[in-house]
């Protein structure tokens, strides 16, 4: 199940350098590259001549993508503008062009109806390029369905078990009061852990010596944008009332882009609003979270292998799934609406 009429993250801006980048998105082969002015372009990654991936080619004359096989050249609109040794160019010699926007160090792509592509609907990830935040992120290719990652991020009780050595401890799975708020546009999961031990990463980043008041707010927007507000302050200093005294306040920023039904592009970053110019601190926090995320990747891929072996098996839901269940309901509704609109248009 893919939702087409949404923006997706196609790449980090730094991934688009001299060479074209081939990346499958929603089962469609896409080639991304920059023209001479540095503007990002996305085209279908399939030469209409003999179906060679255009990402094997190179950028010539500033903004034309030249096929590696027979040298056909395509402009930013996907139109073939040159066939070596031939003056006439068939009308069918063209590839699909996708709307692209660069924002927050990410290259965003619109896979659906181009007429509906409104950059104003790109979710807010300003933490990635704001001087008020120290941020670092990366890309992970995951051999698992994108919704498994959404489920994971909406249920942080798994931190206690999968990430015991970094961002988890028993406090996140027991004695929990979780609030799941379903808004017309998304889901917000709110969680407080009062007077609990700080997990290892928090101790390193915040220097906590005693118990903390810890929060996890998970903001989900469809199809797969999850912005986590997490942090902690020494217990009893008033965080639940909105006071911030000697603690750490961070954002964990995630954008998952389906590659296929069973593989995903996972773009994520960690941002902090304290000591923002301290790159060593940024690196340390990033590495800790990266360790945790690679642990998650192992889980996702193991899940997918089991699912692939028997797609008929049902799952049992538990209370901790409340946020994920609401997200899946929203996604299912949006998919039905998109399919109905498409059929009506046809």
């Amino acid at each position: 199940m893919f939702l087409k009429n949404f923006w997706y993250v196609a790449a980090w801006d730094r991934e688009l350098a001299d060479k074209p980048l081939g990346r499958t998105i929603l089962n469609e082969p896409v080639v991304l590259f920059r023209d001479a002015e540095g503007k990002a372009i996305a085209l279908e990654d399939k030469c209409p001549h003999r179906r060679v991936p255009l990402s094997m080619g190179k950028v010539v004359e500033g903004s034309l993508l030249q096929c590696h096989y027979h040298g056909l050249r395509f402009d930013r609109f996907g139109k073939c503008v040159r066939i070596p040794g031939q003056e006439s160019i068939p009308d069918a010699a063209k590839v699909k062009a996708y709307p692209v926007v660069e924002r927050y160090h990410w290259v965003w792509i619109w896979m659906g109806d181009p007429a509906l592509a409104d950059p104003a609907t790109i979710p807010d990830y300003h933490y990635l390029d704001s001087p008020d935040w120290g941020a670092k992120g990366t890309y992970i290719h995951v051999k698992a369905n994108w919704q498994l990652i959404v489920d994971n991020l909406l249920d942080l009780t798994h931190l206690a078990f999968v990430h015991e050595s970094t961002i988890g401890n028993a406090a996140v799975a027991e004695n929990a009061e979780v609030r799941v708020k379903r808004t017309p546009g998304g889901v917000l999961v709110t969680r407080w852990m009062i007077d609990k031990p700080a997990p290892p990463t928090y101790v390193k980043a915040g220097g906590f010596t005693g118990n903390v008041d810890r929060w996890q707010f998970i903001d989900f927007l469809p199809p797969a944008f999850l912005r986590l507000s997490v942090g902690a302050t020494p217990t009893g200093t008033g965080a639940p009332e909105g006071k911030f005294v000697g603690g750490i306040n961070m954002r964990n920023l995630n954008a998952i882009t389906p590659e296929t039904e069973s593989t995903s592009h996972y773009f994520w970053a960690q941002a902090h609003d304290f000591d923002v110019k301290n790159e060593k601190l940024t690196d340390m926090i990033f590495e800790q979270v990266k360790t945790a995320f690679l642990e998650d990747k192992e889980v996702f891929e193991a899940q997918q292998r089991v699912i692939d072996a028997d797609t008929s098996e049902s799952q049992v839901d538990i209370h901790a799934d409340a946020g994920g269940i609401q997200a899946r309901r929203i996604l299912s509704r949006l998919y039905s609406e998109e399919q109905a609109a498409r059929q009506a248009a046809e």
Binding site: A176, V180, G207, D213, R329
Partner: protein, 96 residues
């Protein structure tokens, strides 16, 4: 290291008002896991909550029906009755 200045936490900078004062004084006498489900209607108003408790019950936020109301509406005697917001039904349908 973390700064020690006192400042105000802005939980709502996702564009959604998410600061919810922690309900202090809740005794954690035993292991539990409670989920509060909140539905926001089309007018972006929160509908009273549905609680899923660790022992498998569903608690609906409402108020008890008074003896006068029982009398007024000719509700049969016996059993506890609660009065709930109509929109909770919608929330149940959408969320459970």
């Amino acid at each position: 290291m973390a700064e020690t200045l006192v400042r105000t936490l802005h939980y709502g900078d996702f564009g959604v008002a998410i600061f919810e004062r922690f309900k202090s004084g809740v005794e954690e006498s035993r292991l539990h896991f409670r989920v509060e489900l909140v539905w926001q209607d089309d007018k972006q108003e929160d509908v009273p909550s549905i609680y899923l408790t660790s022992d498998g019950r569903v608690l609906l936020q409402g108020r008890s029906v008074s003896d006068d109301e029982r009398e007024h509406f000719k509700v049969p005697p016996g059993s506890d009755l609660i009065s709930i917001d109509r929109r909770v039904i919608k929330a149940i349908k959408e969320m459970l």
